[in-house]
């Protein structure tokens, strides 16, 4: 029970962090058809910007400054990079963002060094919020939940209550039609791209000190965010939300459940040891396969339901 509750809370925190990244990516991917490889790199930049700003001014200004910087960078990338490459087709766009991710990683290594930077939780939030069965729940995780819930509310209001949001919703499923109706689709694209990058930056600010701020953080996070987006389905923020939470729970529960396939087989009366065929595969405990699970999920969903959980069209 204790394990379940604590893991649920941790899974929720991680899932919401994933959603912050994945929501922007899902909007970009659905509207522009571009799988933005650089999205997780923007998340990393958000963390590094926040580290630099919080060193000089403090954490609270960083919470605003870093996402704004990331959003501005995103707008520049869309206007001067992607729009130009768009002429050469979707593959070229995808490769462009891939190259960008590559360069951003190297640039971060050159500017901030190869080692993790000491980006820490602010002192005001560095205490225990409450105890669950003797386990501490840090205030910072509560703060992360609060920020992501607020962001979720803000996106939802923006998409359903504003004119811009309605145009974006329409462009998610019928981009050509929206253009034909006389809306400035390129500007909508730039806005969404910049907004998505700002959200990724925000995720970097609050995730960078929760996890570790290092040059490889983009390449560890990136594939997982892709899995979330594909799993949730194109054109569906709700699917993206559910997929983020599923992924959060899968990853946290995989870490705490010390079972292996051999244990499952033992339950039905088959004994497995290292000596049996495939014994090595079967006796690996779940926490060690945890890292594999997202990719197994990705391959399975693309095979059996290419449109994802709640998607409206195939990937």
């Amino acid at each position: 029970m204790e394990l379940l509750l604590v893991s649920l809370l941790n899974g929720l925190v991680y899932g919401m962090l994933l959603f912050m990244l994945a929501s922007g990516l899902t909007l970009i991917f659905s509207m522009m058809g571009v799988l933005n490889f650089a999205h997780a790199s923007i998340y990393m930049l958000g963390a590094y910007f926040a580290y630099d700003v919080s060193r000089h001014i403090g954490f609270w200004p960083a919470l605003v400054v870093a996402p704004v910087l990331c959003g501005g960078l995103g707008a520049l990338i869309e206007m001067y990079g992607l729009r130009r490459v768009h002429r050469n087709g979707h593959i070229a766009e995808l490769l462009f963002t891939f190259g960008l991710a590559f360069i951003i990683e190297k640039a971060v290594q050159m500017i901030w060094g190869l080692l993790p930077v000491p980006y820490r939780v602010p002192a005001a939030l560095d205490h225990t919020l409450f105890h669950v069965y003797g386990t501490n729940f840090p205030a910072y995780r509560g703060f992360m939940l609060l920020v992501s819930a607020l962001m979720f509310l803000a996106i939802w209001l923006m998409l359903t209550r504003t004119r811009m949001g309605l145009v974006i919703q329409a462009a998610l499923t019928h981009p050509e039609m929206v253009g034909a109706l006389g809306h400035n689709v390129p500007r909508v694209f730039t806005t969404v791209f910049a907004g998505g990058c700002a959200l990724a930056g925000l995720a970097g600010v609050i995730g960078g000190n929760y996890l570790v701020t290092e040059p490889s953080m983009a390449f560890t996070m990136g594939p997982i965010v892709f899995v979330v987006v594909v799993f949730g389905g194109l054109g569906s923020l709700a699917g993206c939300f559910i997929a983020s939470l599923i992924m959060g729970f899968v990853q946290t529960f995989a870490v705490v459940l010390e079972y292996s396939l051999a244990d499952a087989l033992a339950a039905i009366g088959i004994k497995v040891s290292d000596a049996t065929a495939l014994g090595e595969v079967l006796t690996i405990p779940l926490p060690r396969i945890g890292a594999l699970l997202p990719f197994v999920m990705l391959i399975l969903i693309l095979l059996f339901r290419p449109r994802g959980l709640m998607g409206t069209r195939d990937t």
Partner: protein
């Protein structure tokens, strides 16, 4: 473009017979001759030794050429963007390592010359397994599945010790004493000649494959898979065959890798190696058969030569890649092919002056960019390694703002002039093409 062919002053193009064969395949035989002769250019006669650096670099180029060509079987010829191609390279390498150890241990007999074939078969088997899953989809879904497979295999390589040897990898010894030629394969030059032979075979086979119905149908499915379906072919089967065969050739490259380095680690299946295949192939050019070879040669040259001079060589590769994607989606081969009609019309000389005008600002802008990147890298990584930034004996202090100012000025001024000259060059180019077209019509 066909009207350009009919230009009266055009160079005659043989279409049949030995002349056509020589014209079409001449560059390949020339490349083979160069590959065979190059190690002797760097031979140290006084000590009667080959230059280890050059032989290692050439070996790397050769095997990477196979790897990039096999990648282009998917990317260029079948229009399949894969992010996990290194899986077949690495698994081929692992299979080869185990085969070498088994032959050494006396389990079975296999001539050293045929050992890379084990890698090829290993790559083929795994490509059949993974390809069965991946090729049901195309485009972005295919790219995502291959990304997932790549990550899966990398994670497995670190997890399972019996086959992959964990983080330490699998070590082996190529001197198994079963050579048909009586070579020991101790000296790396012997291995290099084996690699060149296998490269020649693999390149010839891959080129022949493009002429088979399978190769043609792969092109058709790339260009318009719906029409290919109407004709009566199943695109997913075509994709599957192309994928499996491409895995075979990647496996051969992996086998050659194992023979050269005598160790295979999880790096060979990891994402960085897959990215390497993508970079080499795209920078070289996906549209022409020989493009990936050019890319492999260039990237390995950067990798082994520039990485000696600079910590940040990967930044240059990345920037080169972005520039290519943005401005020259055809890669180096595409740029060269654009000149072909002009060359046939005998007007290539007219571009000499516009090119010369591009050269100076280009060099200045690149110098400025390199200076800025190096300053940045010496400020952090270089400082951590305790190195000083030296330029032909002159030590540059990366803390000093003057160096940064010079770099920014060079990049800014060079870039501006380059941009203006670029527009002028484009105008000159278009005028020339128009002129040739008009000449052909007259």
């Amino acid at each position: 473009m066909s009207e350009i062919l009919a230009h009266p002053g055009a160079r005659p193009v043989p279409t049949t017979g030995a002349a056509a064969f020589a014209r079409r395949h001449g560059p390949w035989f020339l490349a083979l001759a160069v590959a065979l002769a190059l190690p002797w250019l760097f031979y140290d006669w006084s000590r009667a030794r080959h230059s280890g650096f050059v032989v290692a670099m050439l070996s790397q180029m050769s095997m990477m050429a196979i790897f990039a060509l096999s990648y282009n079987m998917q990317m260029g010829q079948a229009g399949l963007l894969s992010f996990g191609h290194a899986v077949f390279f690495g698994l081929g390498g692992y299979c080869t390592a185990h085969a070498l150890n088994a032959v050494k241990g006396g389990s079975f007999w296999l001539p050293t010359e045929l050992v890379p074939l084990v890698g090829g078969v290993g790559g083929l088997v795994f490509a059949i397994v993974f390809g069965y899953v991946a090729t049901k989809q195309r485009a972005t879904a295919f790219a995502m599945i291959t990304l997932g497979i790549g990550e899966l295999v990398t994670a497995c390589a670190l997890m399972f010790h019996t086959f992959f040897g964990g983080e330490g990898g699998v070590s082996t010894n190529r001197m198994i004493g079963t050579s048909l030629l009586g070579w020991s394969y101790g000296p790396s030059i012997q291995v290099y000649y084996l690699i060149v032979a296998w490269t020649a075979i693999a390149v010839a086979l891959m080129m022949l494959l493009t002429r088979t119905p399978l190769g043609r149908m792969a092109n058709a499915c790339r260009d318009n898979f719906e029409r290919a379906q109407f004709v009566g072919y199943d695109p997913s089967i075509v994709r599957f065959f192309q994928f499996a065969l491409s895995g075979f050739f990647a496996g051969i490259a992996g086998g050659l890798y194992t023979l050269t380095y005598e160790i295979v680690t999880f790096d060979t299946v990891a994402g960085a190696m897959s990215a390497n295949a993508l970079l080499m192939t795209y920078i070289g050019g996906v549209g022409a058969f020989a493009g990936p070879v050019l890319g492999a040669v260039l990237i390995v040259l950067l990798q082994s030569w520039v990485s000696l001079l600079s910590n940040s060589w990967l930044v240059y590769v990345g920037v080169l890649f972005i520039v290519m994607v943005t401005f020259a989606p055809g890669g180096i081969a595409g740029i060269l092919l654009m000149h072909e009609p002009l060359w046939r019309a005998g007007r290539l000389g007219r571009l000499a002056v516009p090119y010369a005008r591009l050269l100076a600002p280009g060099v200045i802008a690149v110098a400025g960019f390199v200076l800025l990147v190096e300053l940045c890298s010496f400020l952090t990584i270089g400082a951590a390694q305790g190195k000083a930034f030296k330029l032909s004996g002159l030590t540059i202090d990366p803390q000093h703002p003057g160096a940064w100012l010079i770099g920014a000025l060079l990049l800014g001024a060079g870039g501006l002039v380059l941009w203006r000259e670029g527009r002028r060059f484009r105008a000159a180019w278009e005028a020339l093409v128009e002129e040739i077209k008009a000449g052909a019509r007259a």
